[in-house]
């Protein structure tokens, strides 16, 4: 088990290098630092001095891979590739283009993100499974068919509609909670209820439908027929036979997401004014701060790979037949 995890972690290295090379190509080869300087400073009427200034300030004035002017090991380290790309591996994210320290920003902003994403995740799964179980109980009836239709309708509604509608109904018309904002020291739950609620409701359509198919796949297995023939009650079959066995496919879909919860949700955070990583990314995209985007891409892929490893480990826990080797 331990050796397996070590090996998986080693596998992650080439993937991260690939991610890094891809972002490096996108940000420095496809578009040279000069292009970025021009678009940052305003597309027209930029003097060459202004471009040079901007590049020096942000550390883009070095050669890409090989610095002929430097001596010794600095020929390789005093380059854009080393400073902007390789340093990410040491979690040294440097400064954003507006001069703030990215590492500090990320470590403070991660917690509000988690405060929204974790409850949404847990409550969401719980609600989806409950709804799906209820629908599966009525499998084959009209109720089941209508429930699936309602799920598809819920899926077809834009996420933006859930957010805007939720804010309008709950916060503006009924005035139950503040429309947006976040205050970690004073009654933070008040600001969190609505985003969590919106996140859960928006996920019911696709979530419950997916769990329903998983449960139905299990419900067609032979052991369920055997249990029924033995005279087990329908409720008993549902909770003691179908649910534990459906846990494995549920785990694969769900565990991989857990590390990504730190990244938060772009839309929810920006609409509800929560100072998490989601809104951090959005602001970076809007102000074209590529240093932040690069760092977030790196963090995001690390969390995803972590999720894959966690998924494998959770298999052994959910299904004793699975051995990792």
């Amino acid at each position: 088990m331990f050796a397996y995890i070590i090996r998986r972690l080693l596998y992650a290295i080439p993937i991260l290098i690939g991610v890094n090379l891809l972002t490096f190509t996108l940000f420095f080869v496809v578009n040279s630092p000069d292009d970025m300087a021009v678009s940052q400073l305003g597309a027209k009427y930029v003097t060459p001095e202004a471009i040079d200034n901007w590049k020096r300030k942000n550390g883009y004035d070095k050669p890409l891979f090989f610095n002929e002017l430097a001596t010794g090991s600095e020929t390789l380290t005093d380059t854009i590739f080393f400073n902007k790309s390789l340093r990410l591996f040491a979690f040294d994210f440097g400064r954003s283009e507006s001069g703030r320290d990215i590492t500090t920003d990320v470590s403070t902003r991660m917690w509000p993100s988690l405060a929204v994403a974790l409850p949404t995740f847990i409550v969401g799964i719980w609600v989806n499974i409950c709804v799906a179980l209820m629908v599966v109980m009525f499998h084959g009836t009209k109720l089941d068919r209508w429930a699936v239709f309602v799920f598809v309708c819920l899926m077809s509604i834009s996420y933006l509609f859930y957010i805007i509608g939720g804010q309008y109904l709950v916060a503006k018309s009924w005035q139950l909670v503040p429309i947006s904002g976040f205050n970690p020291d004073h009654q933070p739950w008040k600001f969190l209820i609505l985003p969590v609620l919106v996140g859960v409701v928006a996920g019911i359509g696709s979530g419950a439908r997916w769990y329903r198919t998983l449960f139905l796949e299990e419900a067609n297995q032979d052991y369920v027929r055997t249990a029924r023939a033995k005279g087990a009650s329908e409720i008993g079959i549902l909770f003691h036979h179908i649910l534990p066995n459906a846990l494995i496919p549920i785990l694969t879909g769900v565990v991989v997401l857990i590390p990504s919860l730190f990244m938060g949700s772009l839309l929810i955070e920006s609409f509800f004014g929560i100072p998490g990583l989601g809104s951090y990314m959005l602001d970076a995209i809007k102000s074209q701060d590529f240093a932040i985007v690069r760092s977030m891409v790196f963090i995001g892929s690390i969390l995803y790979i972590l999720g894959l490893i966690l998924t494998d480990i959770s298999y052994t826990w959910a299904d004793p037949r699975v051995r990792l080797n």
């Binding site: 993937i15 972002t23 598809v152 899926m155 309008y168 977030m296």
Partner: protein, 456 residues
Amino acid sequence: MKPILLWSDALIFLLVIALVVFFYKLRNDPQTRERWGEVFSSRLGMVAFTVIMTYIGVALLDSLHFRAALDNPADMESSEVFYDNKVTSVLDVMLRGMGDRFERTYSAPFALKSFEKQDMKDEQGNVIRDYPYLEHAGKQLQDHSKKWTHVLELSAVALLWGLLAALGIVGLQWLFLRNSALPWHASWWTQAVVICFGVWLVSISHHYHVLGTDQGGTDVAFQSIKGIRTGVLLGTLATLIMLPIAVTLGVTAGYFKGWVDDVVQYLYITLSSIPGILLIAASVLLFQVYIDLNPDFFSIGMEKADARFIALCFILGVTSWSTLCRLIRAETLKISQLGYVQAAHAFGVSHTRILARHILPNLVHIIMITFVLDFSALVLAEAVLSYIGVGIDPQMGSWGNMINGARSELSREPVVWWTLTGAFFFMFVLVLAANLFSDLVRDAFDPRTAQRRSEA
């Protein structure tokens, strides 16, 4: 008049031709026929298909672009014809009453007066502050209190015409299809409803703004209809660009195995480990920088917007092939172990022939399911991307841009609800139809569900 072929127009017409050829070729394949028959034998499938076809029809009409010729000034003695810088589509011409009648700013649905007060002079010449009358709403109306009777009269006439038109179109189909086993009547009812609604909307729009106007004074119903082209095109083109990448890589990885497989797997794991939205945003921003630096490439504004749109389709396609590639690779691995492929190997059939004759035809169901499933996801994604600011160019109408522009309107007092309603409604109908249809397609084509059904 000078026809203009934007890149996206060319691509969409190519796509239509390709699909027609594809289905024409497959028409004699009994298995495919049976499965499509299954999709269309349900009334829901018929209704959903009719709705989707309506949207596609509108999108195609909106893709026939031209630049209108400008009248030469009378004092100029020149045979040269000048063309309008604005690109018009056939749809614009058909909706002439809706699209070219601008108000000053917001107005509510069916309103006669503007939504915002304005300084005006009354008969005595005093400056008063009141809601001004709209320029293009209720012009024929003498008595403003009779507005709703007027609307009702217009609706009755419009519905009558709509019913007549529907009767004609449905009757024509009835002549040819009455003996068909498929539930065509479901499609005919839908067609009748769509035609009546369309005729009603267009004829009422000559007198009122059915869904009001937005901040810039444009008719919201018109904008929502213009959003159809963007949504449909994005949904199809992005998948179309993704398909060849995913299929080629997936098939080669699954068939040749070995180091090819390792490389392809590495590629898709790397790509899928990057947060999708960041990758898309970064690519779009980089392309935007490129457009900003090379403004001379595009002679008219619409071409620039179109270039950005095509780029967005490409980016969405290139960043999203990993899921399909994984499926195709797994399926190819499975198929290439089967007896008939082994037999073909033993007979010395070449790789290309095995791939073309034995492997690819057995992957068609996966490709088809992905195509219809991704369509609705992409339409929804467009709105989100436009909100983030990396979506469609604001010059090109889209539901995402409408929502983005209107997102603070619900906090106004009184509430401006009609822009969001229009965009969300038109988007919802398309996505719902596509989702329902894709469910049926998946049920018919997915061997797993087909097997489960035969057991039941």
